[in-house]
C-alpha cells in the first residue's frame, strides 16, 4: 500500500447559493498529523464532513488508501467505519453507558461477538484512561472525559484515519489538556489524524503540517515551523498571530 492514506482532490461544496468549499485538494500520509486552521465559517467542518461523506461534496473526489470513496458504488457505511470522527460537542450516545458507546460500532456495524467487542472496548477505554468509567452514562462525565470516550469510540473501530473537528473548543480550559494529551499520544503511536484545531501548542508539537484555510480555499500549507516563522502569505501570518494571542501557546 502506498504511504498516502487520504487524498482529496478539488472538493467543492455549496449550501443553497452559498459556496462553502471552492476546490480543496490535499493529502495525508500514513502516520501523519495535519492540522487545519482558519477563521470561523470558512468551511473546515464542512470539509471534514465531505471527507467521510456525511455531507457528500458537489464536485471533487476523495480516496482512502487508494480506493475512491466518492465513487457511488462503494459501500459508504463500510468506508465510514474505517474513518473515525471526533466532534466538537462529543455526541456520545446519550442513552448508552460508556462501554456501550465504544462497543456499539463493533457489535452493530462490524458484527463482532459481544465478548470480543467488550474486551476491545475496554482496551480502548484503558488507552484514554477511562476504564473505570465503563458503566457511567455520558451525562455523568465531565466534558473532557466525554471527549476521551468519543476518541475511544473512534479508536475501537480500528480506523485508518481519524478526523477531529475542534475537539477541545467546547471544553473548559482546565479540561483541554487531558484531551490533547490523548491526541498527542495517538500521534506518537503513529495514528493518522486530520485535526481542525486552534490549539497552536498542539500543532507545533505534533503536526507534520498545518493547512490554513480561508473562504473555502487552502491559502497555505506547510510545516508549523515554516508557517510560523516565514509564511508565504500575509494573511497566514496575521491569522497565526491572532490565534496565538487568543489561545495562548501554553499547552503542551
Amino acid at each position: 500500500m502506498s504511504g498516502i492514506v487520504l487524498k482529496a482532490e478539488n472538493i467543492h461544496k455549496s449550501y443553497g447559493g452559498l459556496s462553502v468549499l471552492r476546490g480543496i485538494s490535499f493529502e495525508v500520509k500514513r502516520g501523519e498529523t495535519k492540522v487545519i486552521i482558519g477563521p470561523s465559517g470558512t468551511g473546515k467542518s464542512t470539509l471534514l464532513r465531505c471527507i467521510n461523506q456525511l455531507s457528500p461534496p458537489d464536485k471533487g473526489r476523495v480516496w482512502l488508501d487508494g480506493v475512491e470513496i466518492t465513487d457511488p458504488k462503494v459501500d459508504i457505511n463500510k468506508v465510514r467505519s474505517s474513518i473515525g470522527m471526533v466532534f466538537q460537542d462529543f455526541n456520545l450516545f446519550a442513552h448508552l453507558p460508556v462501554l456501550d458507546n465504544v462497543r456499539i460500532g463493533l457489535t452493530k456495524v462490524k458484527g463482532m461477538e459481544k465478548k470480543e467487542a467488550t474486551d476491545l472496548a475496554m482496551e480502548e477505554l484503558q488507552r484514554v484512561g477511562l476504564r473505570d468509567k465503563a458503566s457511567s452514562y455520558p451525562a455523568e462525565l465531565s466534558g473532557g472525559q466525554q471527549q476521551r470516550v468519543s476518541i475511544a469510540r473512534a479508536l475501537a473501530m480500528n480506523p485508518k484515519l481519524i478526523l477531529f473537528d475542534e475537539p477541545t473548543s467546547a471544553l473548559d480550559p482546565e479540561l483541554i489538556g487531558e484531551v490533547l494529551n490523548v491526541m498527542i499520544n495517538l500521534a506518537k503511536e503513529g495514528m493518522t489524524m486530520l485535526v481542525v484545531s486552534h490549539e497552536m501548542g498542539f500543532a507545533r508539537s505534533v503536526a507534520n503540517e498545518i493547512i490554513f484555510m480561508e473562504h473555502g480555499v487552502i491559502v497555505e500549507e506547510g510545516p508549523p515551523q515554516q508557517l510560523f516563522s516565514n509564511p508565504k502569505h500575509k494573511r497566514t501570518g496575521e491569522f497565526l498571530h491572532k490565534i496565538t494571542e487568543l489561545y495562548g501557546e501554553s499547552e503542551k
Partner: protein, 235 residues
C-alpha cells in the same frame, strides 16, 4: 347506602367487569394501532421525503386531530357499511380512534426525535451505521424514553375516549352501565358513579405504571430539562 343499592352493585358487578374488559381491550387496541402507525409517521416527518411529509403525513395528522372522535367513529362505522364491507362496531372503533391516536402519537414521537439533536445521528453515521441502524439503535431508544411522559397523557386520553364507542353500540363499560340502568329503575346516578370510579382506577393505575417505566428507564445524569415535560394539555 341502603342495602338494596349495595345488592344492586354486587349483582351488576360481573357485567360491569365485562364492560371494563372491553374498555381495556379498546384502549389497548387504540394505543397499539396508534403506536404502530405513529412511530413511522413521526420518522417519516423528520427523516422522510419532504414531499411525502407535506402531502400525506402532515394532512393526515391535521385532519385526524381536527375532527372530533365521535364524528370519526360515525364515519368509520357507517362509512364501512356504505362502502359495502361492514365493520363490526368494535373494529370500526379501533380503526377510528386508533388512527386518530396515531396522529397524536406521531406528534409526541416527532417532538421527542427533534429534541434529540442532529449530533446523535451524525455520530452514529460516522461510525458506519446505516440510517436504519442509526434509527434503530440510537434514535429510537432515546425517542421512546423521552416520549413516556407525553404518552401517559395519550393513554389517559384514549382510555377516556373509549367511552365514545358506546355511541356505535360497542358494549364497553358505559353501555354495560346503561343496560343496568335500563333493567333496574332509578339507579342511573349510582351506576354511572361506579363506572366513573372504575375509569378513575384505570387512569390512575396506568399513570402509576407509566411513571414507574419512566423512572426505570431514566438515563442517569441526563439533564431533566432536556426531556419534554409532561404536557398538561389534553389533546
Amino acid at each position: 347506602m341502603p342495602i338494596d343499592k349495595l345488592i344492586l352493585i354486587w349483582q351488576s358487578f360481573p357485567s360491569l367487569l365485562k364492560g371494563t374488559l372491553v374498555t381495556i381491550e379498546l384502549t389497548a387496541g387504540f394505543l397499539s394501532l396508534g403506536l404502530i402507525l405513529g412511530i413511522p409517521l413521526a420518522f417519516g416527518e423528520v427523516y422522510g421525503n419532504k414531499f411525502v411529509s407535506a402531502m400525506i403525513i402532515s394532512p393526515f395528522v391535521k385532519i385526524f386531530r381536527a375532527i372530533p372522535a365521535l364524528v370519526l367513529l360515525f364515519l368509520f362505522f357507517f362509512g364501512s357499511a356504505s362502502f359495502g364491507f361492514e365493520l363490526s362496531a368494535f373494529t370500526a372503533a379501533i380503526l377510528a380512534i386508533g388512527f386518530r391516536s396515531s396522529a397524536y402519537q406521531s406528534q409526541i414521537f416527532r417532538g421527542a426525535i427533534q429534541s434529540i439533536g442532529v449530533g446523535q445521528m451524525m455520530a452514529a453515521r460516522s461510525i458506519g451505521m446505516s440510517k436504519l441502524k442509526a434509527v434503530q439503535h440510537i434514535i429510537l431508544p432515546q425517542a421512546l424514553r423521552l416520549s413516556i411522559p407525553p404518552w401517559t397523557n395519550e393513554y389517559a386520553g384514549v382510555l377516556k375516549d373509549s367511552s365514545l364507542a358506546y355511541a356505535v353500540g360497542v358494549t364497553e363499560l358505559m353501555r354495560q352501565g346503561r343496560y343496568i340502568v335500563a333493567r333496574t329503575f332509578g339507579n342511573a346516578l349510582l351506576v354511572y358513579f361506579v363506572c366513573a370510579v372504575i375509569y378513575f382506577i384505570l387512569v390512575y393505575s396506568g399513570n402509576k405504571f407509566l411513571g414507574f417505566l419512566e423512572e426505570k428507564y431514566k438515563i442517569p445524569g441526563y439533564e431533566i430539562k432536556k426531556r419534554p415535560r409532561k404536557s398538561l394539555e389534553r389533546i
